[in-house]
């Protein structure tokens, strides 16, 4: 019954603003590395933020990647039209086929967001350590 939730595209329907922006840039460009996206002004964020976001899109099954020197070159797995069709199909399936109670849907949204929390918590801790070390010096 939960198979629809476990598909990558189910979580893809809740993309963050930076994820959406990068995905659009890759649809336009075809493929790119983090450095190329930043150089062309597709994202106003730090290198590591863009790298983490692209990695997340890859894990969600929306991007393919191949090694390119010491970095990865990312390309969209679906065209924009295919992606929209798949999203719509997923939404209709959920609307028609889901007998899940409301509380489940709410939990599911939290679950999706929760998947990103440990990574962000680690980043906060790392930054805090760096700050403490800088202040000691």
């Amino acid at each position: 019954m939960l198979s629809w939730w476990k598909t990558p595209l189910a979580s893809a329907s809740k993309l963050g603003p930076l994820e959406t922006e990068l995905l659009r840039a890759l649809w336009k460009r075809g493929n790119a590395t983090v450095r190329e996206l930043l150089a062309e002004g597709h994202a106003r964020a730090a290198y590591t933020t863009v790298m983490t976001t692209l990695d997340r899109l890859h894990k969600k099954g929306l991007l393919d990647r191949a090694p390119d020197g010491r970095a990865y070159r990312y390309s969209p797995r679906h065209t924009e039209a295919e992606y929209n069709r798949l999203l719509l199909a997923g939404a209709i399936q959920r609307l028609l086929g889901s007998s899940a109670p409301l509380s489940f849907l709410v939990d599911a949204v939290t679950e999706h967001d929760a998947a990103l929390l440990p990574e962000l918590e680690r980043a906060v801790e790392r930054k805090r350590r760096e700050l403490r070390e800088r202040e000691k010096r």
Binding site: L15, T49, V106, D113, L131
Partner: protein, 309 residues
């Protein structure tokens, strides 16, 4: 009959301007988003409120005066069915907006009253009164339209360390200063199809602006990021009622985007003073409108005559 005719004409002009501008704003907003322009919360809000404000100004400044000035009182002119339909649509829009806003306000008041019924006042030395709410309430929130109050749940004081609590409170106080709850009420009053995306964009921009106001240095940026993550960890997350500003309100993805933004926080250079063209432009517009006022009233009357027939 004279005043009924005036009311029908005013309502018809209102609905024409309101609907036309709402559609234009909707299309314009999509274009802005497509071109990925960065739009501040104030601009987003002005853009969203423009149809209602402009429709009210056109009715109050031009339509009503032109009717009173040029419409003969003894004229028993019949009212056409098209104008009646437009006026009815206008009445429906206004009534729906008022009920929508009232319902939101009543639901919020009920919810906040239940939280603050047995609450104790917190001595936080903040600009607005602060109350400790039960654990069932959102972690931190600002409620109240004209007299905002800060609600800090019992959970917040256990979950957040002093630095995190301090910056989270500053975030909520920024919402109170910006009267974001009152703005939300006005958004409910002028709900319009296809403008939901603009409402959400404003909410996300308002959260980012409150983050920026709350953060003073890199340490407080990390404290706020940590507070947001802890608030997101609360399961089940307790959403606040519509007319409150919660620490983690907005789409789920918006919280992670805010945290990423806080992680990349850098001290911002003071913006250079820019030549403000708003005031001179408004003065020029007011003088021009004053000079051409009678001409505009005549044209508006001709238009309403055409509308009535």
């Amino acid at each position: 009959m004279y005043f009924i005719r005036g009311g029908v004409i005013a309502m018809s002009v209102f609905v024409l301007v309101y609907v036309a501008l709402s559609l234009m704003v909707s299309v314009g907003w999509r274009a802005l988003r497509r071109d990925r322009w960065h739009v501040s919360s104030t601009t987003t809000y002005c853009f969203r409120i423009l149809p209602l404000a402009a429709a009210l100004v056109v009715v109050a400044v031009f339509t009503v005066p032109s009717f009173l000035r040029f419409e003969p009182r003894w004229d028993d002119e019949p009212i056409g069915s098209a104008v009646l339909a437009l006026a009815s649509a206008g009445a429906v829009i206004l009534i729906f907006g008022t009920i929508n806003a009232l319902l939101g306000w009543m639901r919020t008041s009920r919810c906040v009253s239940s939280w603050t019924a047995d609450s104790r006042t917190l001595n936080l030395e903040t600009a607005v009164p602060a109350f400790q709410t039960p654990e069932s309430a959102p972690l931190l929130a600002v409620a109240g339209l004209c007299r905002p109050k800060l609600l800090v749940s019992a959970c917040a004081r256990q979950l957040l360390d002093p630095g995190e609590l301090d910056v989270a409170i500053r975030h909520e106080l920024a919402h109170a200063r910006r009267r974001d709850n009152l703005k939300k009420l006005l958004l409910r009053a002028c709900a319009f199809p296809y403008l939901g995306a603009l409402d959400r964009a404003w909410l996300e921009a308002a959260e980012i602006d409150a983050d920026d106001e709350a953060v003073r240095d890199e340490r407080s940026a990390l404290d706020l990021a940590s507070a947001l993550l802890k608030a997101s960890r609360l399961t089940p997350r307790v959403p606040g009622p519509e007319l409150t500003m919660d620490l983690v309100s907005g789409a789920p993805g918006a919280v992670t985007a805010r945290v990423e933004r806080l992680l990349a926080w850098r001290p911002r250079a003071r913006p250079k003073p820019r030549f403000r063209i708003g005031v001179p432009a408004a003065l020029v517009a007011a003088v021009t409108a004053g000079l051409a006022y009678m001409w505009v009233l005549t044209r508006v009357h001709q238009f309403t005559e055409f509308l009535v027939r």
